[in-house]
Structure formats: structure tokens, C-alpha cells
């Protein structure tokens, strides 16, 4: 749909959209963004509870988990090994596919892209709606797995074959099948979304919005969409093959029928490593968006920021083998993957230094989005640096499959992606819902999350170096791990507090949704286009005239401008008149 067709549409729009078309089967990108956000936040509750169950078992093995007796009646709330395996498998599956992806790519992608490039909606609004409902269906299918006989998938979120390929090996039958079907459906939904994002960004930018005037969060979502489009179908095919192995007796992965277990790992990680960047790039984009606004300063090295994301995306295809150093894959291939993995650390380093450069000489305002953005940078630094250990193949031999890896992934995906998501929610909530979040509660949420996050996850480095394997049911079964069990207890207390402090966020979110202070059009004095639309923006975002773009997105504290910000759509004539 072209811009003028959409404009012609505006005049007689608002009358004929009933409840269902407005709130349920909406084609409005902003409503779809909210739907993705709510879906992600709801699933986060489930994923978080599963994590607490896992932590309880690790701290006090084989004791009844409080409250779980109602569900696990036969054992009185004590986890069996098979239930434990299911809990961590589903924790990761839900957090990755149904929390972080829907929030970062789904909610922020849908909300930010049209509003920030000056488009009235996505290129394909109906496809956009379908994308949400297909993803939603995938979520429902995934949830069904909890109720089938044999329990849900229990082969890890990586579902290594043949453990996942032959039902007898785990005792899980339909749980794993539904896991495959759900991810297959999710893959289709994601494809619909990513095609839409790419098309919209390429074709529907407002006049004057050149590629290098795009806000970095749009760049990050653009690159994420390309990764999604090219990486996710590999997973989609792989889970289909896995399902065929399980139900139709094909033998892609089980050697008993001539299959190859490592084929699964190649396919999975060929998707899985770009996936890590799918999870982190939008958070990087959000941080790059928020730091300049609250530093009142242009982003440091805009082009380097954009190109380093492109470099990360390209390299993410050729580093995946570092997940397989001790898998039996050819060791020479392992060496090659070491080289590429070391290279991919460079663009990440560039980004970190540029964020620091953005803070340097700024006028830093510690509002809640800024706190989370700075939190993101500092946690990402730790996650990035611990990655260097794994890149070195000999060191990886020892730390592979230990809690060091668990610590690393949580610093990247929680400290990175989730901190970025919170930063984005605090930043765009006023535009999304037309009301401000309560800053005092936001501060409590931030400091609680930062402290308890590190409390839970930092000691994982220590027990990982001590040798504790991931995915074990009871560390006390091993003599060499018993001396560090106190860490497991310590971390579990932290996890409970981390869970509790999220209640502050939930209260703030819902209270502000209905009773928060009304948001002005541009509460943060930001430059980008979304802050020129009303809060919340109406259907089709702007009135009859779309904004025209005159400059890049980060013109803060320009000495020639009277204000310390210069919106992208402010005509230079006006700015010029202010100059002497």
C-alpha cells in the first residue's frame, strides 16, 4: 500500500472499526505491537516460574517445591529427574521463543519501524496481523505440551538428536512432538513478520529518511529481520525433520536408521547462532537509541554502529561451529570457527566503546530508561568478555557444558536482551499507551533487577569453573561439586528476590496503564519521528501530512540550535531563523 493510498484512506477511517477489528484482529501495527508485548510479558511469568522451580531443585535437591504439590500430586511437589529436565527445557524454550523474540522483534519491531521511519503502517498490514496470530497459535500449541501424557519436551532447548529423535530415550512422546510443531508454526509467523519489516523499511520511509538517517534501533530491527528471514527457516526445516523422525520413521538424525546426530547440531546451530544475535541486536538498537537521548548528545560513531551491526549479522552465520568444539566435529573445522568467533568479538567491542563515547561529555539524565540502557551496556560487557573464554578452543574443552556457559548466556540474554527490553518498555510506554510509568517504582525495579540479577548469575561463573555441569538434576550426586553447593543455595535466594522485584514492574505497568500521568507528545525531548505523533498515535499515525525528514536522528546539543534537541522533522528554515 503506498503512502497516498493510505492518506486517501484516512478521511473516513475511524467510524467502521468495531471492537474485534480494533483490539483482536487488528491490522494496526501499534495494536499488534501491544499484542506481542502482552503475549511476551505473560509468557515471561511462566518462564520465570519454571526458572524458580529449577533453582529450587538445585539448591535443595529433591525437597518439595513450595506450591508445586498442587500440580505434582503424586510426588507432593518433589521434582523427579524427568520433570526437572522438562522444567529447564521449557524455561529456555519459552524465554527465547515466546518472551524475548515476541517482545524485542515482535513488539518493538512493529511499534518502532513505521513510527520511526515515518510510515502510516507496515507494508502488509494483514500479513502483519496473521504474523501475530500465527505466533500466538504457536504459543498455545507449546502450552498444550504441558498437559499431554509423558510431559513436555525434556531434551533441552537445543533438543540434541538422537535424544530428542527417539521417544524411548526421554520417555516424552507428544510433548516433544508439540514442541516441534509449535516451533514450526512459530517459524512461519516469524517469516511473515520479517518479510514485512524488510519491505517496510526498504520502501516506506518518509521523504528525506535516507538509510543513514534511520535511527539505529530501526537499523537493528532491519538487520534482525534479515537474520530472521534467513536463519529461522533452517530451524523450521530441522524441527520438521525431527518430527518426521519421531512420527513417520524417517531417520535424519538417528544412526540406527543411517541418520547422523551431528546433522541436527549443524542445522540447529546454523539457526542458533544467528538467533543469539536476533535476541541481542534489537536490544543494542534500543540502547543506542536511549543513550543519546538521555546524554543529550549525538551517538558516538553512527556509521560504525550501523556497520558493526551489519558485520555482526554477516559473521553470525560463520561462527556457529563454536557450539560444537567437543561434539566430534572435525577439529580442523573447530580451529576455523575459533578464528571467526574471535573476529565477531571486534564489532561487539566497537559498539561498547561507542556507547561509552556517547556518555563521554554528555549531560546524563538518569531516568529509568537510561538506567536500564546503562545496565544493558555494563551487563553486555560481562557477557561479551566471558564469551572470549569459549572462543579459545582449548579453554572451551573444559568449560563447555558447565555453568560458565549458563552464566554467559544469561548475561547476554537477560543482562542484554531483557535489560534492553525493559529499557525500551520504560522509554516507549508513554507513546505506546499514552501514559507515563511511575519513575519511583521504575527505580526500585531497576536497582532490584540489577542487584539480584548479578546475585543469581555471577556465581554461576564460579561453580562453572569449579566444573558443575549444566542440566544436572542434583549437584550433590557428585563428590567434586559438593564443596560449592552453598553457591547454589545463595543463587536460589537471589533468584527468588529477582522474581519478587518483577512484581514491582507488573504493578507499575498495570497501574500506569489505567491511572498513570497522561503522557505529553514528546516526554523525553527526543528527536525521532515517533515523538511527533500524538501519544498514543491514532490509526495511520499522523494527520493528513506525513513528516519530512531533514537530518539524522541524534542531533542533540547542537550549538547552533536554541533547544538541546533538533527533531528530525523540524524544517531547517525554522532552525536557520534561530541562528544569528
Amino acid at each position: 500500500m503506498s503512502a497516498h493510498a493510505a492518506t486517501a484512506h484516512t478521511a473516513h477511517e475511524h467510524h467502521d472499526t468495531g471492537f474485534v477489528r480494533t483490539y483482536v484482529f487488528s491490522t494496526d501495527h501499534k495494536m499488534i505491537a501491544r499484542q506481542f508485548l502482552f503475549m511476551g510479558l505473560l509468557m515471561m511469568v511462566l518462564g520465570g516460574l519454571l526458572a524458580l522451580i529449577v533453582r529450587w531443585q538445585l539448591a535443595w535437591p529433591e525437597t518439595a517445591v513450595p506450591g508445586l504439590g498442587m500440580i505434582l500430586k503424586e510426588t507432593g511437589g518433589i521434582l523427579e529427574p524427568s520433570t526437572y529436565n522438562m522444567a529447564f527445557t521449557m524455561h529456555a524454550t519459552i524465554m527465547i521463543f515466546f518472551v524475548i523474540m515476541p517482545i524485542l522483534a515482535g513488539a518493538f519491531g512493529n511499534f518502532c519501524i513505521p513510527l520511526m521511519i515515518g510510515a502510516r503502517d507496515m507494508a502488509f498490514p494483514t500479513l502483519n496481523m496473521l504474523s501475530f496470530w500465527v505466533t500466538f497459535s504457536a504459543g498455545i500449541i507449546m502450552l498444550c505440551g504441558f498437559f499431554v501424557e509423558g510431559g513436555h519436551a525434556a531434551a533441552g532447548w537445543t533438543s540434541y538428536a538422537p535424544l530428542s529423535a527417539v521417544p524411548q530415550f526421554t520417555g516424552v512422546n507428544w510433548g516433544q512432538n508439540l514442541w516441534c510443531i509449535s516451533l514450526f508454526v512459530m517459524g512461519i509467523g516469524s517469516m511473515m513478520g520479517s518479510i514485512n519489516y524488510i519491505t517496510t523499511i526498504i520502501n516506506m520511509r518518509a521523504p528525506g529518511m535516507t538509510l543513514f538517517r534511520m535511527p539505529l534501533v530501526v537499523w537493528s530491527l532491519f538487520i534482525t529481520a534479515i537474520l530472521l528471514l534467513l536463519a529461522l527457516p533452517v530451524l523450521t526445516s530441522a524441527v520438521a525433520m525431527l518430527l518426521f523422525d519421531r512420527t513417520l520413521g524417517t531417520s535424519w538424525f538417528a544412526p540406527s536408521g543411517g541418520g547422523e546426530p551431528l546433522l541436527w547440531q549443524h542445522l540447529f546451530w546454523y539457526f542458533g547462532h544467528p538467533e543469539v544475535y536476533i535476541l541481542i541486536l534489537p536490544a543494542m538498537g534500543i540502547a543506542s537509541e536511549i543513550l543519546p537521548v538521555f546524554s543529550r548528545k549525538p551517538i558516538f560513531g553512527y556509521h560504525a554502529m550501523a556497520f558493526s551491526m551489519i558485520a555482526i549479522a554477516f559473521l553470525s552465520w560463520i561462527v556457529y561451529g563454536h557450539h560444537m568444539f567437543v561434539s566430534g566435529m572435525s577439529p580442523s573445522l573447530g580451529m576455523a570457527f575459533t578464528v571467526t568467533t574471535m573476529i565477531i568479538a571486534v564489532p561487539s567491542a566497537i559498539k561498547t566503546f561507542n556507547w561509552l563515547g556517547t556518555l563521554w561529555g554528555g549531560r546524563l539524565q538518569f531516568k529509568v530508561p537510561m538506567l536500564f540502557a546503562v545496565g544493558f551496556v555494563s551487563m553486555f560487557v560481562i557477557g561479551g568478555l566471558s564469551g572470549i573464554f569459549m572462543a579459545s578452543t582449548p579453554v572451551d574443552i573444559y568449560i563447555q557444558d558447565t555453568y560458565f556457559i549458563v552464566a554467559h548466556i544469561h548475561y547476554v540474554v537477560f543482562g542484554g536482551s531483557i535489560f534492553g527490553a525493559f529499557a525500551g518498555i520504560y522509554f516507549w510506554f508513554p507513546k505506546m499507551f499514552g501514559r507515563m510509568l511511575n519513575p519511583a517504582l521504575g527505580h526500585v525495579h531497576f536497582w532490584g533487577t540489577l542487584i539480584f540479577f548479578n546475585w543469581v548469575f555471577f556465581p554461576m561463573h564460579i561453580i562453572g569453573v569449579g566444573g558443575q555441569m549444566r542440566r544436572i538434576y542434583n549437584p550433590m550426586q557428585y563428590e567434586f561439586l559438593q564443596h560449592q553447593q552453598h553457591w547454589n543455595v545463595f543463587m536460589t535466594y537471589g533468584a527468588m528476590l529477582l522474581g519478587l522485584v518483577q512484581i514491582v514492574f507488573v504493578v507499575n505497568f498495570f497501574w500506569s496503564l489505567f491511572a498513570g500521568k497522561k503522557a505529553p507528545v514528546n516526554p523525553w525531548n527526543s528527536n525521532t519521528l515517533e515523538w511527533t505523533a500524538p501519544s498514543p498515535p491514532p490509526h495511520l499515525n499522523w494527520g493528513p501530512r506525513l513528516p519530512t525528514v531533514y537530518r539524522g536522528p541524534y542531533e542533540y546539543s547542537d550549538p547552533d540550535a536554541r533547544e538541546d534537541f533538533l527533531p528530525q522533522s523540524q524544517a531547517p528554515a525554522v532552525a536557520g531563523a534561530r541562528r544569528h
Binding site: 524427568s82 530415550f169 526421554t170 520417555g171 546426530p261 567437543v326 566497537i350 572470549i388 582449548p394
Partner: protein, 238 residues
């Protein structure tokens, strides 16, 4: 500096791994401290105070080139230092006449010692200061051969026979867990590796590896304590 949290190393190539680990620990530690100090300093120095305007700058090419090249060089050096150890551990095993067959299955290690067809469960005996070759196979799913104190980890993949090796420098009894999720009994799938002096090993082999010494093997199996610990709560076994 971090030795208190790495378990004691008792293998020859473990030294190379630990050295690299400590080197990376030092590099990342220094980097982290520099970045953290800069970050905290900036947060304090440049906090919003009335009457100050932010510095209007879009970047600095020289700085950006420096902080691209410096990490790149460090990473090149790290790669170069990692390569020889990797090649030694995984690509060029020293020759040996001491070959142990390890066949993994849910949820045990089945071990055959050299010159013997007898199967030991979760128990391996090797001489000290001798290169030991392990022929690693799996019957069902992927397992991973992990001995923390040897710094060895190698997946056992069904359908493949993979060669792993180690040389231990200190006699003793070492825990031998499975490091790859292999089903409901993954946790607790663990054996023991007994490292004997050369004479002790000979003695042990003479007593236990003879073809007619079957009962002894069985008692050893019980001795390993494994089957009793095996979780049985899973829903799988029919």
C-alpha cells in the same frame, strides 16, 4: 590467581588449558576493570548539572580506529596461542599402545581395558604417566566424557568412534561425569577413573583382567556404587 576455583589439574595438556584460561582471565579482567572504571567515571563526571551543555560531537575517527585495531590484535594473538594447544589435544594424539574402549549408554560408561574383553561399569583403571587412548562410542544418545581434573571433554556420538586421549601425572581416584544431557538419568551418570602407579596397575590387571576373573568384575561394579544411585523416577523405562 583463580586456582582456587579450577579443580586441581593432573593431566599433561591440562597445563596448557589452564595457562590459556588464566591468560584470558587476565586480559578480560583488565578490560573489564578499564571499561567499568571509565563507565562509572563518566556516569559521575557527566551527570546532569545545571548550566552545562553536552559536548556536540559525532565521533572521532582516530579513536574508533584505535579501539577497533587493539581488540583485533589481542584476539589475533589469542587465536594464535590457542591453536597449538588445540592441535595437541584434539588433532595429534601421541601414539600409544594403551587403548581403552569406552562405550556409553543410558546411563553408564562401559569400559574395556587393553587385552581384555571384560566389561567394567563406570570404572576405568589406567597407569600414571602413560598416554591413554580412549575409543569413544555410544549405544543410544550423545554422552560426553568429562573428567574435570584431566581437563578432558569429548562427546560420545552414536554411530561414530571418536579417539580421545589423556596422560595423567598423579595417581588417585578421579570422578568421571557425563557432561551432555542424555535423558532422565543424566544426573548421576558418573564413573571413577583409578590412576595407579605402573606396578600397581600391573598388579590390578593381573588380578582383574584375567578371562576367568568374572566375579571380581561384578563386585567392582557394585563397588562403583552407581546402580543404586540411578534415578528411577523417570517415566520412560517400560
Amino acid at each position: 590467581m583463580l586456582d582456587w576455583w579450577l579443580p586441581e589439574n593432573v593431566s599433561t595438556y591440562g597445563r596448557d588449558i589452564d595457562w590459556l584460561f588464566h591468560l584470558i582471565y587476565a586480559i578480560t579482567g583488565v578490560t573489564f576493570i578499564l571499561v567499568a572504571v571509565a563507565l562509572i567515571a563518566f556516569l559521575i563526571m557527566y551527570r546532569d548539572r545545571p548550566g552545562r551543555r553536552a559536548r556536540y560531537t559525532h565521533g572521532n575517527t582516530t579513536l574508533e580506529i584505535v579501539w577497533t585495531i587493539v581488540p583485533a590484535l589481542i584476539l589475533v594473538v589469542l587465536t594464535a596461542l590457542s591453536a597449538p594447544a588445540w592441535s595437541k589435544i584434539k588433532m595429534s594424539a601421541p601414539p600409544s599402545d594403551f587403548v581403552v574402549q569406552v562405550h556409553a549408554k543410558q546411563f553408564n560408561w562401559q569400559v574395556k581395558h587393553p587385552n581384555s574383553e571384560k566389561v567394567f561399569l563406570d570404572e576405568m583403571h589406567v597407569p600414571v604417566n602413560k598416554v591413554v587412548h580412549v575409543n569413544l562410542t555410544s549405544q543410544d544418545v550423545i554422552h560426553s566424557f568429562f573428567v574435570p581434573q584431566f581437563r578432558i571433554k569429548q562427546d560420545a556420538v552414536p554411530g561414530r568412534s571418536i579417539l580421545a586421549w589423556f596422560e595423567v601425572t598423579k595417581p588417585g581416584k578421579y570422578e568421571w561425569p557425563c557432561a551432555e544431557l542424555c535423558g532422565f538419568g543424566h544426573s548421576g551418570m558418573r564413573g571413577w577413573i583409578y590412576v595407579h602407579s605402573a606396578e600397581d596397575y600391573k598388579k590390578w590387571a593381573a588380578e582383574n583382567l584375567r578371562a576367568d576373573a568374572n566375579p571380581a568384575a561384578d563386585t567392582k561394579v557394585a563397588d562403583a556404587g552407581k546402580p543404586a544411585e540411578q534415578p528411577t523416577g523417570g517415566k520412560a523405562k517400560k
